[in-house]
Protein backbone atom coordinates (compact mmCIF):
# COMPACT_ATOMS: atom_id res chain seq x y z
CA UNK A 1 0.00 0.00 0.00
CA UNK A 2 2.76 2.42 0.92
CA UNK A 3 4.43 1.78 -2.45
CA UNK A 4 1.21 2.67 -4.27
CA UNK A 5 0.70 5.75 -2.09
CA UNK A 6 4.08 7.13 -3.14
CA UNK A 7 3.99 5.65 -6.67
CA UNK A 8 3.44 9.01 -8.41
CA UNK A 9 6.45 10.70 -6.85
CA UNK A 10 8.62 7.89 -8.26
CA UNK A 11 6.79 7.88 -11.61
CA UNK A 12 7.25 11.60 -12.28
CA UNK A 13 10.99 11.31 -11.63
CA UNK A 14 11.19 8.30 -13.98
CA UNK A 15 9.36 10.18 -16.77
CA UNK A 16 11.55 13.26 -16.31
CA UNK A 17 14.72 11.17 -16.38
CA UNK A 18 13.70 9.34 -19.58
CA UNK A 19 13.37 12.78 -21.19
CA UNK A 20 16.66 14.03 -19.73
CA UNK A 21 18.50 10.91 -20.93
CA UNK A 22 17.18 11.45 -24.45
CA UNK A 23 18.20 15.12 -24.33
CA UNK A 24 21.81 14.19 -23.53
CA UNK A 25 22.29 10.86 -25.31
CA UNK A 26 20.54 11.46 -28.65
CA UNK A 27 22.00 13.75 -31.31
CA UNK A 28 18.84 14.24 -33.40
CA UNK A 29 17.37 17.68 -32.72
CA UNK A 30 13.72 16.57 -33.19
CA UNK A 31 14.34 13.71 -30.73
CA UNK A 32 15.84 16.19 -28.28
CA UNK A 33 12.67 18.30 -28.58
CA UNK A 34 10.55 15.21 -27.84
CA UNK A 35 12.72 14.49 -24.80
CA UNK A 36 12.20 18.04 -23.56
CA UNK A 37 8.42 17.58 -23.96
CA UNK A 38 8.60 14.37 -21.93
CA UNK A 39 10.56 16.16 -19.21
CA UNK A 40 7.80 18.79 -18.98
CA UNK A 41 5.01 16.21 -18.68
CA UNK A 42 6.84 14.70 -15.71
CA UNK A 43 6.52 18.05 -13.93
CA UNK A 44 2.82 18.21 -14.88
CA UNK A 45 2.33 14.83 -13.19
CA UNK A 46 3.94 16.07 -9.98
CA UNK A 47 1.67 19.13 -9.80
CA UNK A 48 -1.57 17.30 -10.61
CA UNK A 49 -0.72 14.64 -8.02
CA UNK A 50 -0.32 17.38 -5.40
CA UNK A 51 -3.90 18.49 -6.10
CA UNK A 52 -5.46 15.08 -5.52
CA UNK A 53 -7.47 14.60 -2.38
CA UNK A 54 -9.02 11.43 -0.95
CA UNK A 55 -12.63 11.18 -2.11
CA UNK A 56 -12.25 14.53 -3.89
CA UNK A 57 -14.24 15.25 -7.03
CA UNK A 58 -13.55 17.61 -9.93
CA UNK A 59 -13.35 21.23 -8.65
CA UNK A 60 -16.68 22.25 -10.21
CA UNK A 61 -19.00 23.51 -7.52
CA UNK A 62 -22.38 21.85 -7.18
CA UNK A 63 -25.24 23.55 -5.47
CA UNK A 64 -26.32 21.92 -2.23
CA UNK A 65 -23.75 19.13 -2.45
CA UNK A 66 -21.25 18.77 0.36
CA UNK A 67 -18.31 17.42 -1.61
CA UNK A 68 -14.57 17.37 -1.06
CA UNK A 69 -13.13 19.08 -4.12
CA UNK A 70 -9.61 18.48 -5.37
CA UNK A 71 -7.26 21.46 -5.32
CA UNK A 72 -7.85 23.67 -8.41
CA UNK A 73 -4.60 25.66 -8.13
CA UNK A 74 -2.22 23.03 -9.60
CA UNK A 75 -4.68 22.54 -12.46
CA UNK A 76 -4.56 26.25 -13.31
CA UNK A 77 -0.75 26.35 -13.19
CA UNK A 78 -0.46 23.30 -15.45
CA UNK A 79 -2.98 24.70 -17.96
CA UNK A 80 -0.62 27.65 -18.41
CA UNK A 81 2.41 25.34 -18.59
CA UNK A 82 0.85 23.14 -21.31
CA UNK A 83 0.24 26.17 -23.54
CA UNK A 84 3.75 27.55 -22.92
CA UNK A 85 5.27 24.14 -23.70
CA UNK A 86 3.45 24.13 -27.05
CA UNK A 87 4.82 27.62 -27.83
CA UNK A 88 8.41 26.65 -27.02
CA UNK A 89 8.06 23.48 -29.08
CA UNK A 90 6.78 25.47 -32.08
CA UNK A 91 9.76 27.85 -31.95
CA UNK A 92 12.20 24.95 -31.46
CA UNK A 93 10.80 23.13 -34.50
CA UNK A 94 11.00 26.29 -36.62
CA UNK A 95 14.66 26.69 -35.61
CA UNK A 96 15.31 23.01 -36.45
CA UNK A 97 13.82 23.53 -39.94
CA UNK A 98 16.12 26.56 -40.34
CA UNK A 99 19.11 24.45 -39.24
CA UNK A 100 18.17 21.74 -41.72
CA UNK A 101 18.04 24.27 -44.58
CA UNK A 102 21.39 25.75 -43.55
CA UNK A 103 23.36 22.55 -42.78
CA UNK A 104 21.42 19.79 -44.58
CA UNK A 105 21.30 17.72 -41.38
CA UNK A 106 19.59 17.82 -37.96
CA UNK A 107 22.14 15.68 -36.08
CA UNK A 108 23.93 17.82 -33.49
CA UNK A 109 27.33 16.09 -33.83
CA UNK A 110 27.33 16.44 -37.65
CA UNK A 111 26.47 20.14 -37.31
CA UNK A 112 29.40 20.56 -34.89
CA UNK A 113 31.72 18.81 -37.39
CA UNK A 114 30.60 21.12 -40.21
CA UNK A 115 31.07 24.17 -37.97
CA UNK A 116 34.60 23.05 -37.01
CA UNK A 117 35.55 22.41 -40.66
CA UNK A 118 34.29 25.86 -41.64
CA UNK A 119 36.23 27.49 -38.80
CA UNK A 120 39.45 25.78 -39.93
CA UNK A 121 38.85 26.89 -43.52
CA UNK A 122 38.47 30.42 -42.25
CA UNK A 123 41.85 30.20 -40.48
CA UNK A 124 43.63 28.95 -43.59
CA UNK A 125 42.15 31.59 -45.90
Amino acid sequence: MSLFATFNSIAFVVIMMIGLYTLIARQNLVKKTLGLGLFQTGIFLMYITLGVRDGGSAPILQEGADLAYSNPLPHVLILTAIVVSLSTMAVALALIIGVREEYGTIEADEIATIDRAEAEEGHEA
Binding site: I18, I60, H75, V83
Partner: protein
Protein backbone atom coordinates in the same frame (compact mmCIF):
# COMPACT_ATOMS: atom_id res chain seq x y z
CA UNK B 1 -6.16 -1.41 -2.97
CA UNK B 2 -9.82 -0.56 -2.57
CA UNK B 3 -9.43 2.89 -4.12
CA UNK B 4 -10.10 2.62 -7.88
CA UNK B 5 -8.54 6.05 -8.52
CA UNK B 6 -5.21 4.87 -7.16
CA UNK B 7 -5.37 1.54 -9.00
CA UNK B 8 -6.23 3.13 -12.39
CA UNK B 9 -3.56 5.77 -11.72
CA UNK B 10 -0.85 3.11 -11.30
CA UNK B 11 -1.98 1.11 -14.35
CA UNK B 12 -2.12 4.20 -16.60
CA UNK B 13 1.26 5.48 -15.47
CA UNK B 14 2.93 2.10 -16.07
CA UNK B 15 1.52 2.03 -19.64
CA UNK B 16 2.54 5.70 -20.13
CA UNK B 17 6.13 5.08 -18.97
CA UNK B 18 6.45 2.07 -21.31
CA UNK B 19 5.08 4.17 -24.22
CA UNK B 20 7.51 6.97 -23.38
CA UNK B 21 10.49 4.58 -23.34
CA UNK B 22 9.38 3.13 -26.70
CA UNK B 23 9.04 6.65 -28.17
CA UNK B 24 12.52 7.62 -27.03
CA UNK B 25 14.05 4.25 -28.03
CA UNK B 26 12.96 4.08 -31.67
CA UNK B 27 15.10 5.63 -34.42
CA UNK B 28 12.03 6.22 -36.57
CA UNK B 29 10.99 9.82 -35.88
CA UNK B 30 7.52 9.32 -37.39
CA UNK B 31 6.96 6.39 -35.03
CA UNK B 32 8.31 8.42 -32.11
CA UNK B 33 5.84 11.25 -32.81
CA UNK B 34 2.95 8.75 -33.01
CA UNK B 35 4.01 7.14 -29.72
CA UNK B 36 4.20 10.58 -28.11
CA UNK B 37 0.63 11.20 -29.32
CA UNK B 38 -0.46 7.96 -27.61
CA UNK B 39 1.47 9.00 -24.49
CA UNK B 40 -0.33 12.37 -24.43
CA UNK B 41 -3.70 10.66 -24.78
CA UNK B 42 -2.84 8.30 -21.89
CA UNK B 43 -1.91 11.35 -19.82
CA UNK B 44 -5.24 12.99 -20.73
CA UNK B 45 -7.04 9.91 -19.34
CA UNK B 46 -4.79 10.03 -16.28
CA UNK B 47 -5.64 13.71 -15.64
CA UNK B 48 -9.35 12.88 -15.91
CA UNK B 49 -8.76 10.03 -13.45
CA UNK B 50 -7.14 12.48 -11.03
CA UNK B 51 -10.14 14.86 -11.44
CA UNK B 52 -8.18 17.51 -13.34
CA UNK B 53 -10.84 17.84 -16.04
CA UNK B 54 -9.64 21.12 -17.54
CA UNK B 55 -6.08 19.83 -17.78
CA UNK B 56 -7.40 16.61 -19.32
CA UNK B 57 -9.13 18.22 -22.28
CA UNK B 58 -6.31 20.72 -22.78
CA UNK B 59 -3.82 17.84 -22.87
CA UNK B 60 -6.01 15.95 -25.37
CA UNK B 61 -6.36 19.02 -27.62
CA UNK B 62 -2.87 20.51 -27.27
CA UNK B 63 -0.62 17.56 -26.39
CA UNK B 64 -2.18 14.82 -28.50
CA UNK B 65 -3.60 17.12 -31.20
CA UNK B 66 -1.78 20.38 -31.88
CA UNK B 67 1.70 19.21 -30.83
CA UNK B 68 1.45 16.07 -32.99
CA UNK B 69 0.36 18.14 -36.00
CA UNK B 70 3.25 20.61 -35.42
CA UNK B 71 5.76 17.75 -35.15
CA UNK B 72 4.43 16.01 -38.28
CA UNK B 73 4.60 19.29 -40.22
CA UNK B 74 8.19 19.78 -39.09
CA UNK B 75 9.06 16.17 -40.04
CA UNK B 76 8.00 16.80 -43.66
CA UNK B 77 10.83 19.37 -43.81
CA UNK B 78 13.48 17.53 -41.76
CA UNK B 79 13.18 13.85 -42.74
CA UNK B 80 11.86 10.98 -40.61
CA UNK B 81 14.99 8.88 -40.02
CA UNK B 82 17.28 9.38 -37.09
CA UNK B 83 20.95 8.52 -37.59
CA UNK B 84 21.93 5.11 -36.14
CA UNK B 85 24.23 5.22 -33.14
CA UNK B 86 24.86 3.71 -29.73
CA UNK B 87 21.89 3.71 -27.33
CA UNK B 88 24.18 3.54 -24.32
CA UNK B 89 25.68 6.87 -23.28
CA UNK B 90 27.71 6.67 -20.02
CA UNK B 91 27.65 10.41 -19.27
CA UNK B 92 23.89 10.63 -19.81
CA UNK B 93 23.27 7.55 -17.65
CA UNK B 94 25.40 8.94 -14.82
CA UNK B 95 23.69 12.36 -14.99
CA UNK B 96 20.24 10.76 -15.03
CA UNK B 97 20.99 8.40 -12.13
CA UNK B 98 22.43 11.17 -9.94
CA UNK B 99 19.66 13.69 -10.75
CA UNK B 100 16.91 11.07 -10.45
CA UNK B 101 18.32 9.78 -7.16
CA UNK B 102 18.43 13.29 -5.71
CA UNK B 103 14.86 14.00 -6.88
CA UNK B 104 13.50 10.77 -5.37
CA UNK B 105 15.41 11.54 -2.16
CA UNK B 106 13.77 14.99 -2.21
CA UNK B 107 10.27 13.55 -2.67
CA UNK B 108 10.68 11.21 0.31
CA UNK B 109 8.93 13.59 2.71
CA UNK B 110 6.17 14.64 0.32
CA UNK B 111 2.61 13.93 1.51
CA UNK B 112 1.16 10.59 0.41
CA UNK B 113 -1.18 10.35 -2.59
CA UNK B 114 -4.50 12.06 -1.76
CA UNK B 115 -3.55 13.07 1.78
CA UNK B 116 -6.38 15.36 3.04
CA UNK B 117 -3.91 16.96 5.48
CA UNK B 118 -1.36 17.84 2.75
CA UNK B 119 -0.23 21.50 2.91
CA UNK B 120 -1.43 22.09 -0.65
CA UNK B 121 -4.93 20.93 0.33
CA UNK B 122 -5.36 22.68 3.68
CA UNK B 123 -3.56 25.97 3.08
CA UNK B 124 -5.00 28.26 0.40
CA UNK B 125 -7.07 25.81 -1.65
CA UNK B 126 -10.23 26.10 0.53
CA UNK B 127 -10.19 29.89 -0.02
CA UNK B 128 -10.08 29.47 -3.77
CA UNK B 129 -12.75 26.75 -3.76
CA UNK B 130 -14.99 29.02 -1.64
CA UNK B 131 -14.06 31.79 -4.11
CA UNK B 132 -13.39 34.15 -1.20
CA UNK B 133 -10.07 35.49 -2.50
CA UNK B 134 -10.35 39.12 -3.55
CA UNK B 135 -13.56 39.73 -1.66
CA UNK B 136 -13.35 42.96 0.33
CA UNK B 137 -15.01 43.06 3.68
CA UNK B 138 -16.70 46.47 3.67
CA UNK B 139 -17.96 46.21 7.23
CA UNK B 140 -21.42 45.51 8.53
CA UNK B 141 -23.30 48.29 6.75
CA UNK B 142 -21.28 48.51 3.52
CA UNK B 143 -22.22 46.55 0.43
CA UNK B 144 -20.46 43.22 0.06
CA UNK B 145 -17.90 43.68 -2.67
CA UNK B 146 -17.16 40.54 -4.65
CA UNK B 147 -16.99 39.43 -8.24
CA UNK B 148 -20.74 39.03 -8.51
CA UNK B 149 -22.02 35.65 -9.59
CA UNK B 150 -19.12 33.25 -9.69
CA UNK B 151 -18.79 30.53 -12.28
CA UNK B 152 -19.16 27.08 -10.74
CA UNK B 153 -15.91 25.82 -12.28
CA UNK B 154 -13.23 26.98 -9.81
CA UNK B 155 -10.45 26.39 -12.34
CA UNK B 156 -12.08 28.89 -14.69
CA UNK B 157 -12.65 31.30 -11.79
CA UNK B 158 -8.98 31.20 -10.76
CA UNK B 159 -7.73 31.34 -14.35
CA UNK B 160 -9.87 34.22 -15.55
CA UNK B 161 -10.23 36.22 -12.37
CA UNK B 162 -7.52 35.72 -9.75
CA UNK B 163 -4.83 34.99 -12.32
CA UNK B 164 -6.29 37.20 -15.03
CA UNK B 165 -3.07 39.03 -15.86
CA UNK B 166 -1.22 35.76 -16.10
CA UNK B 167 -3.76 34.40 -18.56
CA UNK B 168 -3.69 37.64 -20.55
CA UNK B 169 0.10 37.53 -20.94
CA UNK B 170 -0.11 33.86 -21.81
CA UNK B 171 -1.70 34.99 -25.06
CA UNK B 172 1.29 37.34 -25.46
CA UNK B 173 3.55 34.28 -25.16
CA UNK B 174 1.64 32.48 -27.91
CA UNK B 175 1.69 35.59 -30.09
CA UNK B 176 5.47 35.97 -29.60
CA UNK B 177 5.99 32.29 -30.47
CA UNK B 178 3.89 32.73 -33.62
CA UNK B 179 5.85 35.82 -34.68
CA UNK B 180 9.14 33.96 -34.05
CA UNK B 181 8.04 31.00 -36.19
CA UNK B 182 7.00 33.32 -39.04
CA UNK B 183 10.26 35.30 -38.86
CA UNK B 184 12.39 32.15 -38.83
CA UNK B 185 10.55 30.32 -41.60
CA UNK B 186 9.72 33.12 -44.05
CA UNK B 187 11.79 33.11 -47.21
CA UNK B 188 14.27 35.98 -47.61
CA UNK B 189 13.00 38.94 -49.61
CA UNK B 190 14.73 39.42 -53.00
CA UNK B 191 16.68 42.48 -51.77
CA UNK B 192 17.87 40.63 -48.64
CA UNK B 193 18.92 37.67 -50.79
CA UNK B 194 20.98 39.99 -53.06
CA UNK B 195 22.62 41.46 -49.96
CA UNK B 196 23.53 38.01 -48.63
CA UNK B 197 25.00 37.01 -52.01
CA UNK B 198 26.96 40.30 -52.09
CA UNK B 199 28.36 39.62 -48.60
CA UNK B 200 29.44 36.12 -49.60
CA UNK B 201 31.22 37.46 -52.69
CA UNK B 202 33.03 40.07 -50.58
CA UNK B 203 34.16 37.44 -48.08
Amino acid sequence: MSDPVLLINVILLVIAVVTAIAAMWTRDLLGAVMLMGIYSLLLAIEWANLFAMDVSYTEAAVGAGAATILLLTALTRTGIREKAGPNFHPTALLTVLVTGGLLIYGTADMPRFGDPQAPATVNVAPEYIAQNVGKVDAGDDGPENDFGDHVPNTVTAVLASYRGYDTMFETAVIFTAGVCVILILRPLSPSARRETAQNQEDA
